[in-house]
Amino acid sequence: MLDLVWLVVVVPLVSGLGLLVWGKEGDRVGHLVGTVASAVAFVIGLVAFVQLLGRPEDDRSVAGTLFTWISSGPFHVDMAYRFDPLSALFVLLVTGVGTLIHVYSIGYMAHDERRRRFFAYLNLFVAAMLTLVLADDYLVLFLGWEGVGLASYLLIGFWQHKPSAAAAAKKAFVLNRVGDVGMALAIMLMFAQLGTSSIQAVNATVAGQASESVATALGLLLLLGACGKSAQVPLQAWLLDAMEGPTPVSALIHAATMVTAGVYLVVRSNGIFDAAPVAQTAVVVVGLVTLLAGAGIGCTKDDIKKALAGSTMSQIGYMMLAAGLGPAGYAFAIFHLVTHGFFKANMFLGAGSVMHGMSDDVDMRHYGALRRAMPVTFATFGLGYLAIIGFPGFSGFFSKDRIIEAAFGESFWVGLAALLGAGVTAFYMTRLMVMTFTSPKRWLDDVHPHESPRVMTVPLVVLAALSVLGGVLVLGGWIEHWLEPVVGHTEHHELAVPAWGMSIIVTAVVAVGVALAWSTYTRSPIAGTAPADADVSVLTRAGRHELYGNAVNDTLVVRPTRHLTRVLVFLDARLVDGLVRGLADRLGDTSQFLRTPQTGYVRSYALSILVGSLVVVLALLAVTLA
């Protein structure tokens, strides 16, 4: 099965393409085909994973080349894949969570007439994401990278009739493209400097021979790509808008898998980043800033999905932070990525379930007291909640704890900021829980909340279980050990405080956050409509406006581009084309001028003949006499 691991890409790809070209007849079974394809991919991945597990530790990497993709002179790219411990984890995460979300979508999209196409897109996404994580060449990775971007574009804009959805999809794609410029330039730099884009070769060479400046340039360019894909500052603006997509999409793409591709990229390129301290620092800074920014946004949004999206940003910030810490953090970045994939998918699907029951209302101020109405959703969501805030024993507890620990190992201030983030996370998640499930009900008139069908709750239960149990991966240092062939040995810094002490501190901070939120949102009743901007603090206002990310983009990029475009269109017509047309006009004028002696009177012509002959005679005389 290990040699056939590439089938994991092919199955959903074929299924997705098939579903797209299948006519209306496919509508009845399309969703089943899609789900089965995803499940088959999961099974293949699982078997391959088990086989990999069965191999000796130094042989846990299977590489292969499907075919030569591009080969021309010095430029050679193979369609090469590599199934190693890191890829294996991702394959399982993508296909596993992916399959659950496929199942969930059967229920969630039951009433959508274009459900077949939705599943086709989901399958395409799975295929592209698997390409991304299985690629053994940066260009192949880029293929998957853009593939998930396309799938994301299609799925965000799935409800195309909504202008906001279409705009959000376009925004996501374009901002991702900005990041892709970095990716593309990084790959070009690899070719120019190293003559290859094979991930293995590049990382090995950069680590050993290339100059640090090259490594730094590569690292920063890859970081730009990662920022785009993972919605990190400064390319974060698309993620909140991306919530226009159907909720399963938000869960799969914009929480569990695609947005974490940036983290994957950094971890995968550990050879480059290890050789480029400057780039690592940049990763840490980006991660920290995003962590806090996302948390801030999560605290202020009333839209349940956007609050969760802010949280996603923040959690990816954690991962980025960890990845930027170098060998000390790679394993934990991936660990947090996996656990986050579980609990965030769980909560997004829970949010979807809530919206499903609340007639697609996303405003938490219209929720409240859903605990009774949706017991399963509440229970699963609650478990996810406990996981994300880092309740001891839950998966998030382990993963976040390790990152904070590693951050303190790097620098006290970084650690402190990460710790603060944990507190804020607890605050906004508690706020979300309170507003949605426990506080008095504030439902709108014709809303009748009800529990979702079984097909939707089963994935919730499974994911909730995973959220709770995800922590086992770290027991006995398993994940560090497992990833060692890929990311190298995980270094442990000696901290002033012992590990259990650190855990207590973190838990305490989290408890403070929970308590703060609880007291804030249970003491006074929650208003049915949000207070006006003028009535809230500066920080809240900033959070509501997504820290003015859109405004900044608008002022710095969008509007100048629009003006430039307009000016250029004007100049093209007036100046460039105007020059040409002006030339033509001048020619016409000259002709008109030359035309004036042509009176049409025969006597004028006769006169010119006489003058002409006079000239000829004079010339003849001049020639003869000279």
Partner: protein, 280 residues
């Protein structure tokens, strides 16, 4: 040389007349003068055959053709001497003077060497010499000129010919149309009255009198009217004639009375009056 100094000024003056004559006829006459003058100069230069041809062909044939066309077009047509093309006259004058000056200067500055003269060439007579050349080396050219002349004649015929656009009308049709027109507009169907019925001299310029004694305007040619040569003193003529008659016969009263009767009632000669009576 004497001939030249006599003829040359005449020729130049006549040529200038071509430039300044307002009437085309005068221009044609000056050209005729130039041509005759040139014929003389040909003769003076040992070209008697050309002298004859110049007189016969140019002055005789071509100039007559010109005059004939002038007659067709209208002898009295005058050309307004104001220039219509801006600057044309000035430019023409300047260019002409410059051209002439350059040519004359160039010729004046040239020395041609001794004149060979045509004595040896005209040994057998000018006409024999010409004929030997024309039917010798130039025979093809001469044949071509023959073709050219024939072509020119045909060309002139084609150009001057006007295609009949309507079928030729029979006499009966013409008569019917005339009557129809008379019924419609009252235009007289017959011939217009002839002039000079009551004339004392060249009668073409005197209109015929109608039965009431007034002049019939359409009895004289319009061109006479246009030239202002119409003699409209119709009543004066009658007066003069009656005075002469009175001198011959003192008792003129009864004659004048009968004349009056004749004017009012009696049919008089003149197709107009007859026609009018018939129609009534």
């Amino acid at each position: 040389m004497t001939a030249f100094w006599i003829v040359a000024p005449v020729v130049v003056v006549a040529a200038l007349g071509l430039l300044f004559a307002r009437k085309a006829v005068h221009a044609a006459l000056s050209v005729a003068v130039v041509m005759v003058g040139l014929a003389v100069l040909y003769a003076a230069q040992g070209a008697p055959f050309l002298f004859a041809v110049q007189i016969i062909v140019y002055t005789g044939a071509i100039m007559m053709l010109f005059l004939f066309v002038l007659m067709l077009v209208g002898v009295e047509s005058r050309e307004s001497l104001t220039e219509t093309i801006r600057g044309q006259r000035l430019a023409a004058t300047v260019a002409g003077l410059g051209f002439g000056f350059v040519l004359v200067t160039a010729v004046g500055q040239t020395t041609l060497g001794p004149v060979t003269g045509l004595r040896s060439a005209n040994e057998d007579g000018n006409v024999y010499g010409l004929a030997a050349l024309m039917f010798g080396p130039y025979v093809v050219a001469m044949q071509l000129t023959a073709a050219l002349l024939v072509t020119a004649v045909l060309g002139a015929m084609v150009l001057a010919h006007r295609e009949a656009l309507t079928p030729r009308r029979s006499q009966a049709e013409i008569a019917r149309d005339r009557m129809a027109e008379y019924a419609a507009t009252g235009r007289h169907p017959g011939n217009p009255p002839t002039p000079g019925v009551f004339a004392r001299h060249n009668a073409v310029d005197t209109p015929a009198p109608l039965p009431d004694g007034s002049p019939a305007a359409d009895s004289v040619s319009p061109s006479i009217v246009a030239r202002g040569q119409l003699r409209d003193g119709f009543d004066d003529d009658i007066h003069v004639v009656s005075r002469q008659l009175r001198r011959e016969d003192d008792e003129d009263e009864p004659r004048r009375g009968s004349g009056a009767v004749g004017r009012d009632g009696e049919p008089r000669r003149g197709s107009g009056a007859v026609g009018r009576e018939e129609d009534e």
